[in-house]
């Protein structure tokens, strides 16, 4: 069963880029990654799902119901964490969470306590006095306190330290095991890889691909950067599996997919000053996808 069904969703605004003809489904019980660079249209898509903005054309269904027409009903079962959280300053954490809970017709006080303990959040502080990371925690508790069936996260990890991030991911996995479906938007590939079953990759308002993480990992690209003592013709590395071959002075860089040993052997034969082997960042992955299309 699909928890989210997006059909040809389009949103155009005056100046800023919107989204064009977006379609994908999120199945029940999955952790679905939604990944793309800043400004690609992730937030636009999510905000449309939450009926914060209205689509120009196309539609989306959540729990099988139109997300605009049945918005209040659907939202009972949605937990949302925006990328930037700002809450009523003049309130204590406790009061804000109580206010948030008052919208759902169930007793959430126990869950609030649990979550706050887990996230190490002081309920008696004023929101004003909280650091960005702690405000984020308020956002997390606020989004999860009513035990939603669908959790929508828009770049949720910014501002959280690695330890908290880890705890937060564990929390999400726990919720997922209890049956919650999660839509996780991010521009950081590693966190999506860590958490998600499937991903949709969006660029410039269009879905580039929807793939299983495992498939993405099969296309495991490495980014090589080799600094040599004396200038070397970049063609030296022109072997099968090499992409985006570039040379700048004595530094040669390329993307490689395949058996790493073949490259390492080639490198071993030359005089190397410095060597970097990195995960390619998103832009480079996108480049790869665009090349495939061309």
């Amino acid at each position: 069963m699909n928890v989210i069904e997006i059909n040809n969703l389009t949103k155009t605004y005056g100046k800023s880029r919107g989204i064009t003809d977006i379609s994908f489904n999120v199945e029940q019980g999955e952790i679905f990654g939604f990944i793309g660079p800043n400004g690609a249209g992730k937030s636009t898509t999510i905000r449309t799902l939450l009926s914060l903005i209205y689509p120009t054309s196309g539609s989306a269904k959540i729990f099988g119901k139109d997300c605009i027409q049945f918005a209040p009903e659907i939202k009972k079962e949605i937990g949302y964490l925006p990328s930037e959280v700002f809450y009523y300053d003049n309130m204590k954490v406790k009061d804000l969470l109580k206010y948030s809970a008052s919208f759902y017709k169930k007793d959430c006080s126990k869950r609030i306590k649990e979550l706050a303990e887990m996230m190490d959040l002081d309920l008696n502080k004023k929101i004003d006095d909280l650091s960005l990371g702690n405000k984020k925690k308020v956002g997390i508790v606020q989004g999860l306190l009513h035990e939603p069936k669908l959790i929508i996260l828009d770049e949720p990890t910014s501002g959280l330290d690695p330890l908290m991030q880890q705890k937060f991911f564990e929390l999400l996995e726990e919720e997922n095991q209890k049956g919650a479906t999660i839509l996780f938007s991010s521009h950081i590939l590693s966190e999506v890889q860590r958490l998600c079953n499937r991903v949709a990759i969006i660029k410039e308002g269009k879905i580039v691909t929807v793939e299983k993480i495992s498939t993405l990992q099969e296309n495991n690209y490495k980014k090589f950067k080799v600094e040599t003592k004396s200038a070397l013709a970049p063609e030296y590395f022109n072997i099968i599996g090499v992409n985006n071959l570039q040379a700048k002075g004595n530094v040669i860089s390329f993307l490689f997919k395949g058996n790493i040993n073949t490259v390492l052997k080639k490198i071993a034969e030359i005089e190397v000053v410095n060597l970097w082997i990195e995960e390619p960042d998103l832009e480079e992955i996108f480049m790869h996808y665009y090349e495939k299309e061309a």
Binding site: L52, I53, P72, E84, Y88, D89, Y99, S100
Partner: protein, 265 residues
């Protein structure tokens, strides 16, 4: 209901401050009444020296300024100006506060309709104004009884005072419509001060000509204190004009707000 109480609580401090300030303005003016009434003849001569147009512009009416109701209605024109700012602040803040404090995402992703949100906020703002007016009216009435030289009609006093609430409701409505139309209001106070003073001075100008039609331009002139003192009632056509503004502005606000895109900030 939870939104209503949350908003009401958020307004608590400003409501107390505004109510107190309005009472202070009334106290300041009314405490001058005894000495003013004592030297009535001298003041009359002095004031008669001003051109008629100017006297009208500042709302001076020599026929009744030396009665407590006349004097009070003169002070009321100042309290009403302040009260209009309070109402306009509330109205403009209803939607733009959510945008400014970036809490719109919080509220609008809860299982409530936008109509429910706007209604709750509107009612909370109106309740704040109502509380302000009730407390003010009681206080002003008490002060008036202390400074009066002869007894006065409480009915007329109430009728005069309630015009403040009417004008506040009009400015509340104007504030809401502005806050849903203007995409991002940086400072609520700037917008409300500018609007209120613009209408106030429009009112002053319309008064100088003595043309009744021009009075429709400014809500400040919908309630002619001299008329109220004389007839112990309001002018129907202006009541209707006020009601039309309020209903139109609020209806339009609902329509725009329910269709509006709430952008990330």
């Amino acid at each position: 209901m939870n939104i209503f109480f949350h908003e009401l609580k958020a307004y608590r401090k400003s409501t107390i401050i505004w109510t107190f300030s309005l009472i202070m303005v009334a106290l300041l003016f009314l405490s001058m009444f005894p000495s003013f009434a004592k030297d009535a003849d001298q003041f009359k001569k002095l004031l008669a020296g001003y051109p008629l147009a100017m006297r009208k512009a500042i709302g001076l009416n020599l026929a009744n300024i030396f009665t407590i109701l006349g004097f009070y209605s003169y002070s009321l024109s100042f309290t009403t100006l302040c009260a209009a700012i309070q109402a306009m602040n509330l109205g403009t803040g209803i939607v733009s506060k959510e945008v400014g404090e970036k809490t719109a995402d919080f509220l609008l992703t809860k299982p409530v309709t936008r109509t429910q949100i706007l209604t709750s906020k509107l009612l909370a703002a109106f309740t704040s104004l109502l509380i302000t007016n009730v407390v003010y009216l009681i206080a002003a009435n008490l002060i008036a009884w202390q400074v009066k030289t002869v007894d006065f009609s409480v009915k007329k006093f109430v009728l005069l005072s309630v015009t403040m609430l009417f004008i506040q409701v009009i400015f509340l409505a104007i504030g809401i419509i502005i806050s849903v139309i203007v995409p991002k209001i940086k400072s609520v106070l700037t917008v409300s001060l500018a609007t209120v003073f613009a209408f106030y001075f429009l009112g002053v100008f319309s008064e100088t000509s003595g043309d009744d039609v021009k009075r429709y331009i400014s809500p400040f002139k919908y309630f002619d204190n001299t008329y109220i003192i004389k007839h112990a009632s309001y002018e129907g056509s202006f009541l209707i004009a006020g009601a039309i503004i309020v209903v139109a502005a609020i209806a339009a606000s609902y329509m725009i707000y329910t269709k509006k895109d709430i952008h990330a900030v």
